[in-house]
């Protein structure tokens, strides 16, 4: 039954333009024609018309200069995957540096300074270095990737990210043959992060995540710098975060300050706290339950008091055709 669902779904992912997008584009074209200024308008207006209910936020130079040349909708989600409203995606977050409630991140993340920002790339690479966001993105074209986001807590959203393939960034650093894993670290700045000031925090800061080299180099894996045609809100991991759509959300580490290529599998935040409940791989898998709840289904948000909006969770979050080969021969119950 799962296979049938996936196949039908997969056709949608590559061939169907959602009606809302189609209509929005028509609406925009009609508007442009009416105003008679089509030539004067930059491509980025496409995004602002598409996401016209989205709070604009600040627009750093490194983003403004790239929006015109962005590949919009480079990857789309399935036909049933309606975009989550921006307001929900930016007001319901897990970002434990800012507190444990879902609304803590948007309440407190505004205090985080994201400019200037640097990302250190080090470890098993021929060209280590410290880059700002502009240098990190380099010549790489920004792409919009509409991905399903499945949280380990059994809820999910659909989010249009702006980013670049992580593989391109890693290639530029020229990893050595000893580079077997990639380790990521989040900013540590207790004065701007109340969760890091708590004496009762169970996470050993910095928040740390990791991917196997082939996972990091996979074309679906991106470093994201924006969403909904705009810069990332701080609570969503500004200015640079990882997005790995076939893994539970906590793998997609936020506000990255360091990317290290390493020989050994790095210790990561959640398995360190509780190895029985969280594994290094943490691939979305409806057949392997969290000890405290089922992972077979998920609540697609937003939901309401009248409906939990439950849908079946798909193997690898619906990206099985693309990523299953990475795990060939592995027992996914052991390596969960």
């Amino acid at each position: 039954m799962l296979i049938r669902t996936r196949k039908r779904h997969h056709i949608g992912e590559h061939q169907v333009t959602p009606e809302s997008v189609y209509l929005a584009r028509r609406h925009f074209m009609a508007g442009v024609a009416g105003l008679g200024m089509a030539a004067a308008l930059p491509r980025s207006v496409w995004a602002s018309s598409h996401y016209d209910d989205v709070e604009k936020g600040r627009q750093p130079d490194w983003l403004a200069s790239r929006l015109d040349n962005t590949h919009w909708q480079a990857v789309t989600a399935g036909e049933n995957d309606k975009l989550t409203p921006f307001n929900d995606a930016s007001h319901y977050n897990n970002f434990f540096e800012f507190g444990t409630s879902k609304d803590d991140p948007y309440k407190h993340a505004g205090d985080m300074t994201t400019e200037p920002w640097t990302i250190e790339i080090d470890g098993e690479v021929a060209r280590p270095g410290t880059l700002d966001v502009d240098q990190l993105l380099g010549e790489q074209q920004l792409e919009e990737r509409i991905y399903r986001l499945r949280c380990v807590e059994a809820w999910s959203m659909v989010i249009p990210w702006l980013g670049v393939p992580l593989s391109e960034i890693i290639k530029r650093a020229e990893p050595t043959s000893d580079a077997k894993f990639v380790r990521f670290q989040t900013l540590v700045r207790p004065e701007e992060m109340p969760g890091q000031r708590s004496r009762f925090a169970l996470i050993d800061w910095p928040y740390q995540e990791g991917l196997r080299m082939d996972e990091a180099m996979h074309p679906l894996t991106i470093l994201s710098v924006g969403m909904y045609g705009r810069v990332l809100p701080n609570q969503n991991g500004a200015p640079v975060r990882l997005v790995v759509p076939w893994k539970y959300g906590f793998k997609s580490i936020k506000s990255i300050v360091r990317i290290s290529l390493v020989k050994e599998q790095p210790p990561t935040a959640w398995p360190t706290i509780n190895a029985n409940e969280y594994g290094f791989y943490s691939n979305v898998n409806p057949d392997v339950d969290h000890p405290r709840w089922s992972q077979a289904r998920e609540r697609r948000l937003p939901n309401s008091l009248f409906s939990t909006n439950m849908i079946d969770t798909q193997m690898f979050n619906g990206y099985e055709d693309e990523v299953a080969s990475l795990y060939k021969g592995m027992d996914l119950r052991t390596y969960f």
């Binding site: 989550t84 409203p85 434990f96 009762f200 925090a201 996470i203 709840w293 937003p302 008091l305 409906s307």
Partner: protein, 207 residues
């Protein structure tokens, strides 16, 4: 005193009205059921701690007002507990009782919370004057169940914590202090501490 009771009544009702309004106004986020569940649960715990603080407060201040609202706060605790359970059944389980068994197996803390609520139910139905009279001495014994309920509620909460123990620790500390104040020696000592002007007055009389 009537005004005092009414004030407490309104104050205890306000959180419910506020959260209900937030949900109605779309201010409760993308998962309103979860929002209500967590808020009702936390409110029930706070009310339970407040209820248990009334006796020590009365001993300390000799103000009868604290005793007058004890039953009311106890009933409010129970009410928010019921709202918490109802939120779980309606908004999380979606009344899909076929999934209840599996859920209870994975989340034993639901059973622990439910046990606490059953105890509070027993206290709520025997909170009237008639039951007090009928049960006599046994009434007091029965109502000591509230201490066990508190322990269960704290355990229930402990089980859910994932990333930070701060909030839980604060509630647990409050619970421990309230229990310590019930140890006979401490409780008697508490009764001897009087407001300063009271002590001055009595010294005067003894002269």
């Amino acid at each position: 005193m009537r005004l005092w009771r009414c004030t407490v009544f309104v104050a205890a009702l306000l959180p419910f009205l506020w959260w209900a309004w937030q949900v109605a106004a779309g201010q409760a986020g993308p998962e309103p059921g979860q929002y209500l569940l967590l808020n009702f649960g936390q409110c029930a715990l706070i009310l339970l701690l407040l209820t248990l603080s009334l006796t020590p407060l009365m001993k300390l201040t000799r103000w009868k007002g604290f005793a007058l609202i004890r039953r009311q706060l106890g009933l409010w605790t129970f009410s928010y507990g019921v709202l918490h359970l109802t939120s779980y059944l309606l908004f999380i389980l979606g009344l899909d009782f076929s999934a209840l068994g599996a859920d209870l197996q994975r989340r034993p803390y639901i059973i622990v919370g439910f046990a606490a609520l059953v105890m509070l139910l027993a206290l709520a139905v025997t909170s009237n004057r008639y039951s007090m009279k009928r049960l006599g001495k046994r009434w007091k014994f029965l109502h000591r169940l509230v201490y066990i309920a508190l322990a269960l509620v704290l355990l229930h909460f402990f089980w859910v914590v994932r990333a930070d123990m701060g909030q839980w620790s604060a509630y647990a500390l409050a619970g421990v202090v309230l229990m310590l104040l019930r140890i006979p020696v401490i409780s008697r000592a508490l009764g001897r501490i009087r407001p300063r002007h009271g002590r001055v007055a009595s010294t005067h009389r003894s002269r």
